[in-house]
Amino acid sequence: MELPGEANVLASSEPTAWVDQYGDCLYRYALSRLRSAEAAEEVVQQTFLAGLEHFSQFSGQGSVRGWLFGILKRKIIDLVRQRNRTTDLTDDGDGDPLDQMFDRNGNWRQRVRSSLLQPLDPLEREEFWPILSQCLDGLPRNQADAFTFREMDEMGSEEICKELSITPSNLWVLLHRARIRLANCMKTRWNQEND
């Protein structure tokens, strides 16, 4: 089979050259989705191994980089599926977070009212992610993962349900809990940093 130029060089020389060329960008992408250096290294390694194994299937259409990213995205979904398989989807470990926000009658609790009225809007673009990232780390992993797929990757509800083998109502509960905690957490941290 005739391989195109770029692919030919890589296939014939050493695939370890991939690691130097694409390792960092694959890693940064994986880290933004998985928020764990260990997990990100793991999927990057799996991506290179799968890339090597299936290199004959690379059509030569598009770049090696784009092809490797395609594999990486698949590996990230697989890892998220695996790491959430053992968790009970509705178990947060520390009770229903909504109980901390609402009283028995379903009204917003007094102590969250003032922070609720304080808008998130003035948060600058460059300070948004560092704060959100810390708050995501504080969430139960299944909530953080569902939220990341939905809001960062803009995956549809149906696709996420299929990938994570959960029902739509499970997913909506996860997302609602994630959002309400994140909004609250971000304001708390932001206020701490600006005090």
């Binding site: 690691v19 694959l26 940064r28 290294e41 390694q45 090597l52 990213f69 808008p119 809001e151 609602h176």
Partner: protein, 104 residues
């Protein structure tokens, strides 16, 4: 009448799927009267925009570098720590070894 707790759930779900006509009416009537739930909705939209923006920044910087050559600002606007993150030397070696051992 739905409580704020129930309305907050509808507000969140409205970002994920189309609510029924009845749900939409309940939600919008409540939001017109309730500053707190309106503030919650505004926060969720801000959260969504910020997250999507960040996702787009990472994608632009990492998956398609040629498009960001024109402006380094794009990559620079992602969080400093993450945008400069690199595969550690140990991980790099480990991956190379794994690749070599399966190499033909």
């Amino acid at each position: 009448m739905l409580s704020c707790k129930e309305i907050s759930k509808l507000v969140s779900e409205s970002l994920d799927h189309k609510l029924t006509l009845r749900q939409r009416m309940e939600m919008w009537m409540h939001l017109r009267m309730c500053r707190l739930c309106s503030a919650f909705r505004r926060d969720l939209l801000r959260l969504r925009n910020g997250m999507r923006q960040h996702g787009a920044d990472v994608d632009a910087a990492e998956t398609n570098p040629s498009e960001t050559d024109a402006g380094e600002a794009t990559a620079g606007e992602t969080s400093a720590g993450e945008a400069s993150a690199r595969l550690s030397a140990e991980a790099r070696q480990r991956i190379k070894r794994a690749l070599s051992s399966t190499d033909r």
